[in-house]
Homo-oligomer: 310 residues x 3
């Protein structure tokens, strides 16, 4: 197994199945501890830098909550406005500066590859909280952890990924983890937003069963896990085409109850219209538990890279 | 008495006199403890979300200081910029997300009723830090607590409220609390900015003695407590009218010393010109102690809704 | 020696040599303690206000990290947007408000003299984190501490200050400290950006040996410490003149190794092009250690003004 102490968490592909199992075991243990007490003392005195060059309230607050629940403190910024970058400083210099202050860095940045640049500049571990259209490994890990929590195990499940599979870094990062499990993947997307061919080829080469379809209901009928994502208007040249497609990728309570009442419903959020709010009350609608799992998974990663848990 | 554990704090009207007395007793106890030590350990491990969709440094820092002095931690944001709302997420979904992270939410939002929407979406208690022209219950509570601190008791006092009584949520929230006490209320405002008739009617129906006047000095002559608020230029169609009125609602040291030297002077701040700075040095100018009381009152509310004090 | 408890830290000129030695001794002690544990419990329960009316990620995060490592908490803001100043509140009133919340204030503000205004309004100690083109005493102290750390002592060293010496508050604040030591100062700047004559006169009157030149390499040849600063384009009426000069004030690895391989290289950062990145790997390139020293020096100042260390 990878030695996590001092490790940068940059993309989903860096993990072996054994690594994934270990992160999830640590997260499960933290979840159990938090059921008995509001927070821990494990990282007392430690400081995390949350450097969000791109705003993301959900992800930033999740990282910060994770650090506070572990007993540590947080410094950082919520947007690039006012950072030294605007005075012409390089990203590497900004990172080297914060590196002098903190014990671990969680970063989000609009440019692909920026997390790796930061990891090379910093001596402390860097956790990628999303680098543009690139990677988002903590989201992928919390998705996997949620599937395991909701379904008891990942092996043997059929996972449907639906929506914008071309541009969604969440699903790209996710399949890098699912490939280690004996599960079947079904990709549901309009033609313009299909999963890139190199990714499906990579998965099949890895022995994963992959199906592709444009028919959401047919995929749902097979789903143990249905992972919905948002289709973004700005990806379409023709607004009429967008409107037409948008309507065919809306998950309703009626559809779920009719076609596959027990499928676990996930969504990385924010949700706009693609899951109707009447779905929320279903016991298998797991997207807000998914948000909560983000905290425990990030607690696990922070504690691991700081060498405070085995 | 209301059971505070898990309670949302949404508006002043939700409290009975017994409730108010209890919140103030807890606040007084915290104030005494803070006189002996910088902070407490009561909320160690707990996390508060301060969600300020509308900027308010005074209120936000007051809530955050309260949580830190109780030993807890804080995550949040200081303005709506960069929140998921800008990606089309509903307020309810944003709240449900933060609900997974934190133990209590303090929120300010520009829209009336938003605090109630948040309280319905969240499982953790929500404390309204101001919802547009709606309610601002923590301000009303700290005002009441300040009157009790400065005057020993609220019963038997004559309270003058002066300024923009039509639009001021601070005074609207305040009278909802004063009505539980045996005190006389005098409203001083220009005709255009009078206290809404339904509020004065509601107070009189509740047995409160209410007087209305446009004469500030005459009211001051009767005041035990003089609560000043700002008259905002943008409320007037005719700028000349604004200038004329503004001048007649300025509280000076000379006036206080001549007319009513021992009146307790309050103001919710920020103050612009309506209290001259030479008033600040008077021992009965209590508006900065009022600010300080905001911290202890918010400590009391946070600890109460988390069930950490009886 | 000055009694630090309750003291405002406003400018470099307020310190005697004995004061400087004391601050550095406390900082060195904290550095040693942090080598053995991530943080201390010294300021448990205390709260600092970081009021950054002007954005500065480097300085703000340094102050906040210092407070967290001491065991305290932080409230504040990172820019003037949304503060009560925009509602017409005076700086003094804003400070008096925060004064009710916190135990110590660290402030940055774009106007010269604002730190003194704040110190007069506040009862708690105020630490100036930069007031416009005015003072920046914590930067000067961390520079001095870095020189002592890197060179064992400050007496006997030749310190070269290079770049924009006319407008740079960092160098203006620095020479106020260096004058207490037996060191030689060499100022390197283009004619347009020379150190103001009143400052050189003040230093000479104080018995300091001062040389002035436009020749960077000649100065470097004598340097024990070479302190580089950025030349800002906006200071020049003629862009061509800027381009010509900029080129002559770039510190390269080749130049250092040829002329003065063991000079300690400092820079307040951010760095743009005036030190090439190949210099970073030199063991005597100390500018990132300088950043780290900022945390321990600020820890020393915070603990001193709060009376928590002797």
């Amino acid at each position: 197994m990878t030695n996590f102490k001092g490790l940068d968490i940059l993309d989903g592909a860096q993990f072996s199945r054994e690594d994934l199992e270990h992160v999830m075991a640590v997260a499960a243990d933290f979840r159990q501890q938090l059921a008995q007490q509001p927070g821990l003392d494990l990282l007392k005195g430690y400081v995390m830098g949350t450097l969000f060059f791109e705003a993301s309230t959900r992800t930033r607050l999740s990282f910060e909550t994770a650090m506070l629940r572990l007993g540590g403190g947080v410094v950082g910024f919520a947007s690039a406005a006012g950072t030294s970058t605007s005075k012409g400083e390089s990203l590497a210099d900004t990172i080297r500066t914060v590196d002098q202050y903190v014990d671990v860095i969680a970063m989000r940045h609009p440019e692909i590859g920026s997390a790796r640049v930061a990891a090379e500049a910093a001596q402390v571990p860097v956790i990628n909280g999303g680098d543009g259209a690139g990677q988002h490994p903590t989201q992928a890990l919390l998705d996997l952890f949620t599937i395991r929590s909701e379904r008891a195990q990942v092996d043997g499940t059929t996972i449907v990924l639906c929506g914008d599979l071309k541009n969604g870094r969440t699903v790209h990062a996710g399949v890098e983890l699912y490939k280690h499990y004996d599960c079947k993947l079904i990709f549901v997307a309009p033609e313009q937003l299909k999963m890139p061919a190199d990714i499906t080829a990579h998965l099949r080469a890895h022995g994963v069963t992959v199906e592709e379809t444009t028919d959401m209901a047919a995929a749902l009928a097979q789903a143990d896990v249905f992972y919905m994502t948002r289709i973004q208007k700005e990806r379409f040249a023709d607004p009429a085409e967008y409107e037409r497609l948008k309507g065919s990728y809306v998950l309703t309570r009626e559809l779920i109850e009719r076609v596959r009442p027990n499928a676990t419903i996930l969504h990385p959020l924010p949700r706009v219209d693609e899951i109707t709010t009447d779905v929320d009350a279903l016991s298998n609608a797991a997207y807000f538990r998914q948000v909560q799992n983000g905290v425990t998974v990030r607690m696990a990663l922070i504690a691991l890279v700081l060498g405070k848990v085995e």
